[in-house]
Symmetry: C2
C-alpha cells in the first residue's frame, strides 16, 4: 500500500566498470587506459508509483570504489526525507549535502566528495522529472524563473552574479521559448564528435572515422594531442585532409602542458586551423589559462570537464581565461550547481559546450544544453555538445543522434537510468562479466 | 631474519576519531562540531630494524572512512617497493601516486584522493627520517639542494618557478645554516595560539585563555569570527583588552563570506587592530582573495589550510592575493608538494605561517617551518606556526612548547606516530572508547 507521505527509503550503490581500456577507446595524453566506470546509485521510495531516482559519478576505473564510499557517506542525509519535499526543492537537499559541517572538510566542494554530492543531487532531479512526467530539460525550461533562481547556491558568486541578475537573464529569455522548444524537438541540438581522435588510433582509422563523422552530419570533430608533437602534426594534417577546410577541428591536450608549452605547441599546430585548444594546462590554473588564451588567439581556449565547482568557473570568466565553457554533468554538485554555471556563462556571454562521452555523460548533459537553449541563452550559435559513441546501449533511454544533432529526449527523467542487466553484468568485481573475466588474471 | 633487499610489506589503515565536538573545542563559523579524526596508515617492512612509516590525513569526523578508502586505493603502488629506493627518492613515489592515470580522474590533485597521496607520502618521509636517524626537519635542512629540487614536481609551476630558480633559492640560504640550526635548537620556532578563540567559548573563557597565552609567552593569538558581527565586535574588544596593544590578534573567518561581506566585516573589526584576516572567502577564489586584500589593507590576508595544491598557491602568489601563506601538512600531496609551496613562497617573498591544530598537525608542520628557517627563507620574521593544545598526548613525540615557541624535535622521523593505546582506543567504531560509548546512542 502506498505511504500517505512517501519517503525515500533507500540509497543503493553500485560499483560499475566497463573494460574500455582493451580497445584504446578513450585514450588521450593523460589517460592512456581508461576503464569507463560509474559510481552509481538508486533512490527508492515507498510511494508505490514504481519510480526511482538514478544518478552516478563518472570515473575511469581504479578508485570507483572510493567514489562509491563517498556516495554512501551521504546516505543519512537522504533516506527518510519526504519525496515530495525533496523533489519540489532539490536545492534544499543540495545545500544540506554541500554544507555538512564534517564532510565539507574533505573538499570543500571539490573532488570525490563533491562528485558524490552531484551524483545524489542528479538522482533527485531524475526522480523529480519522472514524477513530473517530463524529460528534465523540459521540466527546467518550463519552470518558474524565481524557482530556478532559488535552486542556485549563490555563496561565493555574488561578486560576479546576483540572484537579481540571474532572474533578469531568465526573464530576458522568456520571449520565443515556445518557438525554440518546437525547433529543438524538430531538429535537435548540435553535436560534435570525439570518436575519430583518440590517441591510440592509427592515422588511417582517424581519417576514416573523421570522414564518417562529416558524412554523418557533424560539423566539428576533435583530436587528442599533447603526447608527441610530430605525431600531432601528422594527425592534424590527416584529419584536415579528411574533413576539408569547413569542418571545425578542436584539439584536446587533457592538461598535458605547462603554460609556455601550451602556447608553443598550439602555435605549432595553428597551420591546421584548429578551432579550440581544450585543457591546455591544469584545470586549476585560472591565470595560466588566461595567459594561454592571450597568446594563442585566434585559436580559442576551452576547459571545464575537470573544473571542480562554480567558484573556479566564476574566475575563469572573470579573468577572461576561456572562450568556451565545458561544463560536466557529473563533476560538480549536480543540476543545481550547473544552473549556476549556465547562468554565469550567460552573464559573461561565453558559449557552453558540455563535456561528454565516458559512460552516460552524453545522456545527462543534453538536458542541460537544451534547457539553456530554450530558456536561458536562447541560441545554438557556437554551441555544440560533445558526442562519443560508447556505451549508450547500457541506458534505458540512450541519446539519439540524427544528422550530427542530439534529438531532444522525450522520456521522463534525466536519462540517467542504466539497464538492469547492464548493472548486473558490469558490477565490479562480482557482476557476470567480471566474475567470468577476473580469474583470467587480466585485471586486478 | 632481515631481508637482503627490504621491501614494504604492508600498508595498514586505521579510522581514528576523537570526540572533540563534546567540548566545542575547534568550533568556528563553518565547523561548529568537529570530531577531530585521522585517516591513519602504517607502512611496515621486512627490514628487521623495527622501523615503520606513519602518516595520516586529518578530517573532522564523518567521511573519515571515505578518506581511509582513498588511502587503501593507493596500496598497490606501495606494497612490494624497495624500502631503500622509496626512502632515497620519495619524489619518485609521489609522482607515481599523483600520476596514476585512473585515480587521477578523482582529482586531479585535490580533495580526498590528493589528501590520501599526502598521507602515504608523509609516511614514507617518516620512515626515511627514522632510517636516517634524524628528525625530518634536520634531514631536509642537511640535504643536498639538488636532491631537494629533484623531490619537487614542477609540473604546472614553470611559469612561476623553475628548477634553476629553486636551486638558487636553496643555494642562497647555505650561508649561516649552522648558526640558524643552533639558534633553532636553543630557542625554538615562534608559535601563536588559537586556543582562546573558538566560537563556542564564553567571553570570560576567551579573555582568561588570552591572558594565559600572553603569560605563556605567545605574542600572537587568533579568534574565530564570521557568525555574528555584534558578537565578533564584543569578542574582539574583550580579547584586545585582555592582551593589550602589543600582542597580535589574528582573525579567522573559515570561508564564511563572499567578497563584499569579507571586506565590510573586516573593516568593521579594524578598530581592534587585527593582524590578519584568515580565510575570508572560498579557498578556491584566488581573484576573490586578491580583491579582499586590496580593500582591507593594512589588515593582512592569510589563507591555505584548504588550498588544494601547489597550483592554487602559485596563483595566490602570482595574483598578490595573500600576505601570509598557511600551508597544511596533510591537505596537499605530502612533503614533496610542501617543498614546492615553500619554494614558491620564498620566490615571491611571502612568509609561511602553517595551519595546525586538529590532531597531529602541529607535530607535522613544525618540521616544515624549521627546514624553511634553517635552509630556505633563513628568517623567523613575521613567521609563526599555529598552536592548539589538543590531543598531543596521543603522539609518541608530541610537540613541546616553551615560552610560546616550538622546540625543535630531536626524535628521528616526522613526529607522526600515534601511541598504540590511542590507536586502539579511538579506532572507529570498534576501538575501546567508541565501543563503550556508541551504545549510549550519543553518536552515529
Amino acid at each position: 500500500m502506498p505511504s500517505p507521505t512517501p519517503r525515500i527509503t533507500a540509497l543503493d550503490t553500485y560499483d560499475i566498470r566497463f573494460p574500455t581500456s582493451r580497445s584504446l577507446d578513450g585514450s588521450d595524453a593523460m589517460n592512456p587506459d581508461p576503464d569507463y566506470s560509474a559510481a552509481y546509485l538508486v533512490l527508492r521510495t515507498d510511494a508505490g508509483d514504481g519510480l526511482e531516482g538514478h544518478g552516478f559519478a563518472f570515473t575511469i576505473g581504479r578508485g570507483n570504489d572510493v567514489q562509491v564510499a563517498a556516495i554512501e557517506a551521504l546516505r543519512a542525509h537522504v533516506v527518510g526525507r519526504s519525496v515530495a519535499e525533496v523533489c519540489d526543492d532539490p536545492g534544499s537537499l543540495n545545500r544540506a549535502l554541500v554544507g555538512d559541517s564534517q564532510l565539507r572538510w574533505l573538499g570543500p566542494e571539490k573532488g570525490v566528495m563533491h562528485m558524490a554530492v552531484g551524483a545524489v543531487v542528479n538522482a533527485v532531479w531524475d526522480l523529480a522529472a519522472k514524477r513530473a512526467g517530463l524529460p528534465l530539460w523540459r521540466l527546467l525550461a518550463e519552470a518558474d524563473p524565481a524557482w530556478l533562481v532559488a535552486q542556485v547556491d549563490f555563496r561565493y558568486l555574488s561578486d560576479a552574479l546576483t540572484p537579481q541578475e540571474a532572474l533578469s537573464l531568465l526573464a530576458r529569455a522568456r520571449e520565443g521559448r515556445g518557438e525554440r522548444a518546437a525547433d529543438l524537438i524538430a531538429r535537435g541540438y548540435p553535436g560534435y564528435t570525439t570518436s575519430p581522435g583518440w590517441l591510440g588510433y592509427s592515422d588511417e582509422k582517424l581519417a576514416r572515422l573523421a570522414r564518417e563523422a562529416v558524412a554523418g552530419g557533424f560539423t566539428q570533430i576533435k583530436l587528442k594531442v599533447g603526447a608527441d608533437l610530430a605525431d600531432d602534426i601528422r594527425r592534424c594534417r590527416a584529419a584536415r585532409a579528411a574533413v576539408g577546410p569547413d569542418v571545425r577541428i578542436a584539439l584536446d591536450a587533457n592538461q598535458r602542458w605547462d603554460v609556455a608549452e601550451a602556447v608553443s605547441w598550439t602555435k605549432a599546430l595553428a597551420e591546421f586551423d584548429p578551432y579550440w585548444i581544450e585543457e591546455p594546462t591544469s584545470p586549476d590554473d585560472v591565470l595560466g589559462h588566461a595567459a594561454v588564451r592571450v597568446a594563442v588567439a585566434p585559436v580559442k581556449v576551452a576547459t571545464g570537464e575537470h573544473v571542480q565547482n562554480r567558484i573556479v568557473f566564476k574566475q575563469l570568466l572573470q579573468a577572461r581565461a576561456i572562450d568556451v565553457l565545458q561544463l560536466d554533468a557529473a563533476r560538480v554538485g549536480g543540476v543545481n550547481e550547473n544552473l549556476a554555471i549556465l547562468l554565469l556563462a550567460a552573464k559573461f556571454g561565453v558559449p557552453v559546450c558540455p563535456h561528454a562521452g565516458g559512460v552516460g555523460l552524453c545522456e545527462l548533459v543534453q538536458h542541460l544544453s537544451m534547457f539553456d537553449y530554450v530558456a536561458l541563452s536562447g541560441t545554438y550559435e557556437d554551441r555544440v555538445i560533445e558526442y562519443v559513441d560508447h556505451l549508450h546501449e547500457h541506458f534505458l533511454a540512450p541519446t539519439v543522434i540524427r544528422d550530427g544533432r542530439y534529438l531532444a529526449p522525450t522520456a521522463p527523467g534525466f536519462s540517467a537510468q542504466m539497464r538492469g542487466d547492464s548493472i548486473a553484468a558490469y558490477t565490479y568485481p562480482s557482476g557476470g562479466f567480471w566474475a567470468a573475466d577476473l580469474p583470467s588474471g587480466a585485471r586486478v
